[in-house]
């Protein structure tokens, strides 16, 4: 995808320009009504505008004309700034949608009708139609390969330039519209109608067109609306109470008080936070198919991680040569390398490399040497090479022993011992023999990814348990689990066992996240609270999960959880900040309102603001500017730290609670000083 992690900076000029016009367009009431907090501000702005116009035309203002005018202007700014925040967040998604949309050129398709190819427009393809693609063809629609195998360039989707193999049957049969066939010919059955394809849905999601408020966002909105109503009561009731007390109140001042008290900071930034959360996932090349899933990611208690690819590097690697007594290590390495020269499996290649690294043995071309390569088969369980009359074999220990005994040789008990101890360490032993002589053992090991242990430590600190899922036997699994530092493991895992594990965790009240790609993962993906499907996986898996990882990198699950937590934390901190701000605003505005009639309350004006009007205006300006100041935080999210909940809470309360109390005192005083300096008051 075009939007790689660093492609769009936070504030790209083109996005800002677009957002500026958008923020004016968003003033339309049908848009504002979706956000009651800001709607109240807009109504207040309209009201003060009317007052300003009336004072301008008919004179006899209750408050100075400049005061009404400036307050009115800054109230409008408050609304515009909130709209701007939302527009910037949306703009970043739109830029990405645009690059996706470019892929959706109207391609032509070679549709198969009764076995005959017809050239039709891709837009006419319907579900269950079949079409053919050859080298260089753009795949016209999402579908499933029913015949053939091809290498496909999916870089348009994933940003990954290496081609992937797609073939009929099994877990690699899904193709995505807009990707390109590089070699071979495939026949594909269409799985979606136009407009519903994966690409279409992605564009809609990215643009925010189909964005719905998430459950927690709705709950937070209710809180904000409730607070707004409370302040509405408080401000409206103030009018008769002021009449009783003989205090003349200008309507502008009451509106200013109301707007300053209602939670405009969080109210104005709430939707931007939500959009930015989805966007942050997208930047990591993960598409959340619902906002609910992003929230759930923050709540996850248990991560089910596939061993291969997530915890360990994809394949086992040779890590040591263990010669039999009387055999030199170099001889074993040489034989092992010879037997592996034609072995294109990752294990085979790692043996060649290890021999080269340890003993400087250069790889040779087995065919150039005139040898005959014996391929691995499930019945013999060994492979090797016949060269210059030598017959070198490597394979499972029992298979090699049987082979040697069959040739009249003997195998020492020592070989079995060494093999057993390797098994205990979680490794796999491969025996090597030359003719009837056992040369020794190659130790193959799962190599745990660098830094993964530290990562799991962070999750433990956050209270998240990690469970490794593997097809290995108990002993191997236990050893790797220990080395990787996971909390638990499920050995000899079958899809059913995986499903059962998820259900039992959920029954204990845990939220479970997992990744998967195969069709047999689909039920588990659907059952998990957060199911991240690999983009290379089957259509069934992608439909079952609630997120799709375009990079097909299972480690991503960890980042998904962090983004989810970050999203919730950003909401929480800004809400706390917003509410804490109100205390200072009271101290700015209330004394200013009553000082005319009760000059004795001057000590309450603890900020020593210049005049009642400058005090109120300074509070309104602060209230508007704080929204702008917090836009970067809303879009980037608060910095996530892997701490326990108690430590995290203490920290956040200190920064955003206490900070929220203190900041406006400083800010309002500073604005008041500037207002004085400009001679406005």
């Amino acid at each position: 995808m075009a939007g790689k992690a660093d492609a769009t900076s936070l504030f790209e000029p083109s996005i800002l320009k677009q957002a500026a016009t958008q923020s004016v367009r968003k003033l339309a009431t049908q848009h504002m009504a979706k956000n009651p907090v800001m709607f109240v501000v807009e109504v207040g702005s309209v009201l003060t505008s009317c007052l300003f116009a009336r004072d301008l035309l008919f004179g006899h203002p209750a408050a100075p004309l400049w005061f009404t005018g400036w307050t009115c202007a800054w109230l409008w700014f408050t609304v515009l700034f909130a709209n701007f925040a939302e527009a910037v967040a949306e703009g970043r998604g739109k830029a990405q949608a645009e690059s996706l949309r470019k892929m959706r050129k109207d391609t032509s398709a070679r549709k198969l009708v009764d076995g005959v190819e017809q050239s039709v427009s891709a837009a006419t393809l319907r579900k269950d139609d079949t079409f053919v693609c050859g080298p260089g063809d753009l795949i016209p629609s999402d579908g499933e390969i029913i015949e053939g195998i091809a290498s496909v360039d999916e870089s348009a989707m994933t940003g990954e330039s290496a081609p992937v193999i797609r073939e009929s049957g099994g877990d690699r049969s899904a193709v995505t519209g807009g990707t390109k066939v590089l070699s071979d010919r495939i026949v594909v059955r269409v799985t979606t109608n136009p407009g519903e394809s994966f690409l279409d849905r992605m564009i809609a999601l990215v643009e925010g067109a189909s964005r719905q408020k998430t459950p927690n966002e709705i709950a937070l909105h209710i809180l904000l609306v409730g607070l707004t109503l409370i302040f509405l009561f408080a401000c409206v009731a103030l009018v008769p109470l002021a009449v009783y007390s003989g205090v003349p109140l200008s309507t502008t001042a009451v509106v200013a008080l109301l707007v300053c008290l209602i939670p405009t900071t969080i109210g104005g930034l709430l939707s931007a936070i939500g959009i930015a959360g989805m966007d942050r996932l997208l930047r990591k090349n993960v598409i959340a198919l619902s906002g609910r899933a992003v929230e759930a990611a923050g709540d996850v208690d248990v991560l089910l991680l596939d061993k291969t690819g997530t915890i360990t590097l994809g394949n086992r690697m040779a890590t040591a040569f263990l010669p039999s007594s009387g055999v030199k290590a170099e001889e074993l390495a040489d034989a092992a390398q010879l037997s592996s020269l034609a072995d294109e499996t990752p294990e085979g290649r790692s043996i060649v490399v290890l021999a080269k690294d340890q003993f400087g043995l250069r790889g040779r071309d087995v065919h150039g040497l005139g040898g005959h390569f014996i391929a691995f088969s499930a019945t013999t369980r060994m492979s090797g090479v016949d060269l210059d009359g030598r017959s070198v074999r490597k394979g499972a220990v029992e298979a090699i022993i049987a082979h040697v005994v069959g040739l009249g040789g003997t195998a020492s008990a020592e070989i079995r011992e060494v093999a057993g101890s390797i098994g205990d360490r979680g490794g796999t032993p491969l025996a090597v023999c030359d003719g009837a002589r056992v040369l020794g053992i190659i130790e193959l090991k799962d190599v745990v990814k660098g830094g993964i242990k530290e990562r799991f430590d962070r999750f433990r600190a956050m209270g998240i348990r990690t469970v490794m899922i593997t097809g290995d036997n108990q002993r191997t699994a236990a050893a790797i689990a220990k080395e990787a530092g996971v909390d638990d493991f499920l050995a000899e895992a079958t899809p059913e066992a995986k499903m059962k594990l998820i259900q039992s965790e959920q029954a204990k009240g845990k939220l479970v996240a997992m990744t998967g790609d195969g069709t047999n993962d689909a039920p588990a993906l659907a059952q998990a609270d957060v199911g991240v499907a690999m983009n290379t996986g089957t259509q069934a898996a992608k439909e079952a999960g609630n997120m799709v990882d375009l990079d097909s990198n299972p480690t991503k699950l960890l980042e998904v959880v962090e983004v989810g937590k970050q999203l919730l934390m950003t909401r929480g901190t800004l809400t706390t900040f917003s509410i804490a701000n109100d205390v200072a605003k009271y101290f700015a505005i209330l004394p200013a309102m009553f000082m005319g009639v009760f000059p004795e309350i001057a000590p309450l004006n603890i900020m020593r603001l210049a005049s009642p009007f400058s005090a109120i205006l300074a509070a309104v300006i602060f209230n508007a500017l704080i929204i702008v100041a917090l836009i970067p935080l809303a879009l980037k999210g608060v910095r996530y730290r892997p701490l326990g909940a108690a430590a995290l809470l203490r920290r956040s309360l200190l920064i955003y609670g206490l900070g929220g109390l203190v900041t406006p005192f400083i800010g309002i005083k500073a604005i008041d000083l500037i207002l004085q300096a400009t001679g406005l008051v």
Partner: protein
Amino acid sequence: MTLVGWAQVAVFFFIVLALTKPLGAYLYRVFEGETRPLPRLLGPVERVLLRACGVATSPEQRWSEYASALVLFSAIGMLVTYTILRLQAVLPLNPQGFAAVDWDLSFNTAASFTTNTNWQSYSGESTLSFMSQMVGLTWHNFTSAAAGIGVALALARGFTRRPGPDGANTLGNFWVDVMRGLLYVLLPVCLVYALFLVSQGVLQNFAAYREVITLEGVKQTLPMGPVASQEAIKMLGTNGGGFFNANSAHPFENPTPLTNLIQMVSIFAIPAALTHTYGKMTRDTRQGWVLFGAMSVLFFAGALALYAAEAAGNPIVGALGVPEPLGNMEGKEVRFGVSASALFATVTTDASCGAVNSMHDSLTPLGGLVPLVNIQLGEIIFGGVGAGLYGILIMVVLSVFIAGLMVGRTPEYLGKKIEGHEMKLAMLYVLVFPLLILGFCAVAAVIPQGLTSLNNGGPHGLTEILYAFSSAAGNNGSAFAGLYANTPFWNMSLGLTMLGGRFLMIIPALAIAGSMVGKKVVSPGPGTFPTNGLLFVGLLVSIVVIVGALTFFPALALSPVVEHFLASAERVF
């Protein structure tokens, strides 16, 4: 301020603290335990009474059934009391021959006692017969307290019950809770308590009022009546409605320093104990102590502020060159003095009791601000019997929701998620106070029906209005006084406020219980928001103060706050 004054606050608090655990455990056994105390003696009584109520099998109720039962029970009780008051003249036990009570005062009084408020627009000794006091009012003193405990238990069950495999969504049985509250807690304690009061000199008779000649040779009428039996439940049930107009300042209601201390302790006893009962219900007593802790912080803040303000005395009197060695003694019973009066005023407004042993109208402006704020915070500083617990639990829900997000999880309390539905109900609950108090204040402050009842003008008059509606909405019932409330406007508006402050808050609270009880429980871990530590005490206190202060600060700024600054500048009204 004196050392003895401080010691009184400390001694009082330590007695409450010492009672919390044993009494809380007793309440847990009564309401949640497998077996109840004295099964041979009280077991058959309970069974017979429950059978008489038609709930012999004590079926579990859903929240709506629980709420309907409570509303129905209260409505019938209110109607009966209204009828008794209207028919007082023809009913027995009326030695003074008092006339029927007017319709508006009857409505106000019936609403007041039904809602555990005990706001009194009348003076008992010159308005009500013994029959009206004992049957019409004392009945409510017992049952409204028991019903309050029931609601608190239902909400606690909502948070703490684990949903069964059959998806149980019930909260207990209202009739059973009320019956057990009366039978095992309120009646036996009050029996002993009343006898103790009698031993100290509190009246308990059906005699006609007595004429005596004082030492000065003046004729004085001494009112008589069954005082002790009403006095015990008045305190223990946080009712607060005095037999006499002077309430606990009257020597026949509160004769000795010992009764004064015991009366204060008995106000806090059950509300404080319920926090421990709650802790036991959550299977983590620290959850209960956290609530107790937050309440204690707010209690001490109020008590010390009020004591300091009163000890400092009246600035205007000081400016006249009159020394006030004892502090502001205006409106105080000389037997009790500044510290015991300040403590009593704090306790009675922290808990929604409303009994008084001094004149709140005569407190210094800042002194008067404390009881007002105590009530406006939602009657959750220990609060009314039951009402305090369900009130603070709603504030817990708000705190968890606002700050819980900051740990990066969607908010949850005791493993149950707080979602949109609960927030909607919690906000409905929170909105009741500003709507009733500020709404009625705004009206009363500008219409002649409101203003003509005021004793004072200026900010002090506004405080009197604000206090009256706060007291009614908080179901406190203490009067700031200085306000003649026995007019149709005040009786009606305060009556409606009391009903709203009780039922408009109980119904959302029960609805929250109903939606929480069926929720899946997420087991706690290091990543879950901790609600059983000191940090949460601080957070809870901040949220309570901020929500209360933000709502009422503008109104308070125009009443006691302005009055304080004006008094300091020697401006009076």
